[in-house]
């Protein structure tokens, strides 16, 4: 676990917003034996370009190789290995917990307030919570809720943005074609 944390790295990419690009990138990871921990993608302010954030684990050799191989893909405009100390990272979690008694309910609501989460759905037998934060915070929240019985959860995967002047599209200088 310690080692895994140490080897964890974050890639931010600007890619062409075209069909099949996600397959090209995930296919490259799969066939080179690179493992993806999380992936999030969405259109940017420029509709021709999507931004992709990939969290993965691997040593220095792996990191270097993955960047170089990704740079070879025609649809990848820029890849950056994010400096974790100069990056803001967030992930969104939706989690549904079974609650059949009042005590559990108030305990969970207390946790929701402490974790600065938000209740987004409530039924007599369940409670659905939304929480945003760094991956570790989300994991801690899940761990706290586990004993109550999680009926389902989904995480978006990490998305990340550089601090201040660290702007990915400004570094985009790959010659057009």
């Amino acid at each position: 676990m310690e080692k895994e944390k140490k080897d964890r790295f974050l890639l931010s990419m600007l890619v062409n917003n075209e069909a099949g690009v996600l397959t090209r990138i995930s296919g490259l990871f799969a066939r080179r034996g690179f493992n993806i921990a999380s992936l999030s993608v969405g259109e940017t302010e420029n509709p021709d370009i999507s931004r992709m954030t990939i969290m993965a684990t691997g040593d220095d050799y792996f990191k270097e190789q993955v960047v170089l191989q990704l740079e070879k893909l025609q649809d990848v405009r820029i890849v950056e290995l994010m400096d974790m100390d100069d990056t803001v990272m967030r992930e969104l979690l939706l989690v549904k917990v079974r609650v059949d008694d009042q005590t559990s309910r108030s305990q969970i609501l207390e946790a929701v307030s402490i974790f600065r989460a938000k209740v987004i759905d409530l039924t007599p037998v369940s409670l659905t919570v939304e929480i945003t934060g760094e991956t570790v915070k989300l994991s801690a929240f899940i761990e706290y809720l586990a004993p109550y019985g999680i009926s389902e959860l989904c995480r978006t995967g990490v998305t990340a943005i550089g601090r201040g002047n660290n702007i990915l599209s400004k570094k985009y200088n790959k010659e057009e074609n």
């Binding site: 099949g20 397959t23 090209r24 296919g27 066939r31 050799y61 270097e64 190789q65 170089l68 191989q69 740079e71 070879k72 893909l73 025609q74 074609n177």
Partner: protein
């Protein structure tokens, strides 16, 4: 000017200087073939017997001429039959543009007749691929495909064009022929480091690969080797970049390389790797390969630096440009003692391996063929023992004369590739093949006959899948599981049935007479050569081994 998609494809092929296409028509490429019919004065199309043969032909054409090979196929099975050909081109970095038809856009995704997602299928084996669903994008895509296929480290690009896009019309603007694109400049800091590394080395060894052939950098490489007085060895893909007779060239290194080449490499203190990717077949044990010596890696693909072998200094860029920069620097000739050490190794008994000359053997046949070929004769091979023998015993003259499947090791590559090379060079071409490989794509002999191509096929028949048999002999206690072929094919008659000439060579004393006859034939000829099943490819460094593990005797 308004043109249809199919017309745009043909116009851009002409604009890109394409005058030769290999392919196979079918339902969804009918419109493109119709335009080809109307443009037959500008583009010559060769129909093969199978799309795989067409893909290999485009590949062989590209390897032997340096131009981009072009192949057409229809959707579904036509497209999937290209797969092995594209993978072969991808692994050996050959510029090929494949154009496939597909069903019209509306029925795509409904498992229509002969519909296949060829972009999905070929994604990992092409440099890039496209499905063009809008005719207004077609011209841009086809031009870009040629640029991508050629630029940097070359490779195959596939364009899938649905039938309705071939029919649709749009405005087309002709463009001028593309000018050769300058590759990125080599970084000057790295250059300084590289020069220092070379100057510090006492025993430099040049290990070069196919990048030297692709970059047309043979002259520069030879001048560089002579300037620093470094012995050279090559990967199999590097063969033909330097003539075998050059005194500094020791031959191929690696699993079936020459003893002297691997031995001198193991004594070096600096490996200058030029246009090569350190394949496991060439390096053997990777830890030992770079142990006790530094590596300077020159390659156009930044992703190859440090991928297989740790590198001390790298020069990323076009090999020719990098070598010219090194030649312009103040590098000096190394001491005479290193040269003497190399010469001593060259004179060791293991450096002079020959086969058993008392019987008809591959070496004798290959050397006799060489006496009848010119320096610019292209030699294609299939894959297996005969390929290694050709690599070992054929003495290459000019660059681009060895057309062989290195990375993928594609049995069945040879017949199509030799046809492509023969068409591309317009000269007599030799194919070394074997009973195993020949049976895979022998159908293309018909293509050679139809076009009356001067193709000399030397079929080394050992009645076995020889390379696998050799491994079974060496590592599986002679358990010959399904490698004894016992085929009763009469190859000479088969060749005649195809309309080619057929000859049979069974006795050592007839080598000259039979080969003389073969080289006089106008058109394709097959020479069936009977050799022993237990003929081995030696020397051999077992997988993952080093020069100390080299096997030189049966």
């Amino acid at each position: 000017m308004k043109l249809t998609g199919a017309q745009i494809v043909i116009e851009i092929l002409c604009e890109q200087g394409v005058d030769t296409v290999f392919g196979y028509p079918g339902g969804t490429v009918l419109n493109i073939y119709d335009e080809l019919y109307k443009s037959s004065g500008r583009i010559k199309h060769y129909i093969t017997c199978h799309e795989q043969g067409a893909a290999h032909a485009a590949d062989g054409y590209a390897r032997s001429t340096g131009k981009t090979g072009v192949v057409f196929a229809t959707s579904g099975p036509g497209a999937t039959n290209l797969v092995t050909g594209l993978a072969t081109a991808y692994l050996d970095s050959t510029p090929v543009v494949a154009i496939t038809g597909n069903v019209a856009c509306p029925p795509i995704g409904r498992d229509s007749f002969q519909e296949v997602d060829i972009c999905g299928v070929t994604m990992p084996i092409t440099k890039h691929n496209y499905i063009v669903k809008d005719v207004t994008r077609l011209a841009h895509v086809v031009r870009e495909a040629f640029r991508i296929a050629r630029r940097g480290r070359p490779g195959p690009v596939l364009i899938d064009i649905p039938k309705d896009v071939q029919v649709a019309e749009c405005e087309f603007e002709p463009a001028a022929a593309p000018v050769a694109k300058e590759e990125k400049e080599v970084d000057s800091t790295s250059l300084k480091k590289a020069v220092k590394l070379i100057k510090d080395a006492k025993k430099p060894f040049i290990y070069f690969g196919g990048g030297v052939v692709i970059s047309d950098a043979s002259k520069e490489l030879i001048r560089f080797a002579e300037k620093i007085g470094a012995p050279m060895g090559s990967s199999m893909m590097g063969l033909s970049a330097v003539p075998n007779k050059h005194p500094l060239f020791l031959g191929m290194t690696g699993m079936h390389g020459r003893f002297a080449a691997s031995k001198v490499l193991s004594e070096s203190d600096l490996i200058i790797a030029v246009g090569t990717r350190f394949s496991d077949r060439a390096t053997g044990n990777k830890l030992q390969f770079s142990k006790n010596r530094r590596v300077l890696h020159i390659d156009i693909d930044p992703a190859e630096i440090g991928k297989n072998i740790p590198v001390y200094v790298s020069l990323v860029g076009d090999v020719k440009q990098a070598l010219n920069l090194l030649l312009a620097s103040d590098i000096k000739h190394t001491a005479q003692s290193w040269h003497d050490e190399g010469e001593a190794i060259k004179n060791m008994p293991d450096s002079h391996l020959t086969m058993d000359m008392s019987r008809l053997n591959p070496q004798a046949v290959i050397e006799a063929v060489r006496k009848r070929t010119a320096d610019d004769t292209v030699v294609a091979t299939d894959v297996g023992q005969h390929q290694m023998w050709a690599a070992q015993y054929y003495h290459f003259g000019n660059p681009r004369t060895f057309v062989t499947s290195g990375g993928l090791g594609t049995m069945g590559f040879g017949m199509g590739a030799a046809i492509g090379a023969c068409v591309g060079t317009g000269k007599r071409t030799v194919l070394f093949t074997s009973d195993g490989s020949f049976h895979m794509n022998m159908n293309e002999l018909a293509t050679a006959v139809t076009n009356n191509l001067p193709l000399v096929v030397i079929l080394l028949d050992n009645n076995a899948l020889g390379m696998v048999r050799q491994w079974q002999t060496m590592f599986f206690d002679n358990r010959y599981s399904h490698t004894t072929l016992s085929r009763q094919t009469n190859y000479a008659k088969l060749a005649e049935a195809f309309g080619a000439a057929g000859l049979c060579l069974t006795d050592k004393k007839d080598i000259d007479a039979i080969l003389d006859k073969a080289f006089e034939v106008d058109g394709p000829v097959l020479v069936h050569v009977k050799i022993d099943s237990d003929e081995m490819v030696l020397p051999m460094i077992p997988p993952g081994g080093t020069i100390n593990d080299i096997i030189t005797k049966n």
